[in-house]
Symmetry: C2
Subunit: 109 residues, 2 copies
């Protein structure tokens, strides 16, 4: 085996897992944080910011894009990346929900 048994879980659970998996790598965290820090679209730059080769970063960007966490627009020669607020809002809502439910818990551990 080795492949995740996605068929056994709900679409929503798989969706959230995809989102978190995309964030589950320090390079992708660093990319997200850089995009947020510069506070605008970035064309290029990312390769210079991180200690990874260009193909590796391109691959990480693709994964973030596939997960829907960032958007990429072609702008002449280069590509302009930025955070997709909708997905961030979705993750935030997830944790607000989770957090709310935990607060009501009778703490037994």
């Amino acid at each position: 085996m080795g492949a995740t048994k996605t068929a056994h879980f709900s679409a929503r659970q798989n969706q959230m897992a995809i989102l978190f998996k995309a964030l589950g790598h320090p390079a992708r965290i660093a990319i997200m944080e850089y995009l947020i820090k510069v506070n605008t679209c970035i064309c290029g730059d990312i390769v210079n910011e991180l200690p990874l080769a260009q193909p590796t970063i391109s691959q990480h960007l693709r994964e973030l894009k596939n997960a829907g966490l960032i958007k990429g627009n072609v702008k002449g020669n280069s590509i302009c990346y930025c955070v997709d607020e909708k997905m961030i809002a979705r993750v935030l809502a997830y944790f607000e929900n989770v957090s709310g439910k935990i607060l009501k818990k009778n703490n037994c551990c």
Copy 2:
């Protein structure tokens, strides 16, 4: 190659990546959601709830525990698992921060 270059990223970035990575699997999402749903510590049960073999679930539980997302207390014969609120709070705070920064953005894409 193949190993993540953790040394090149900050401790905080690696820490957040570990947290998200732990959540980046539908079985572990399902485990977390079950723990939240039952709203108390659970001794056993989880194996019956999920369509995975006992060793597989044990492994997922260990990963969640290593990431600090759940706690496990020995209770006689069985082990009592529950969500660690501190970590959930930490993730929530992370996204609230991120979300706040994104709202101030001049949307260019």
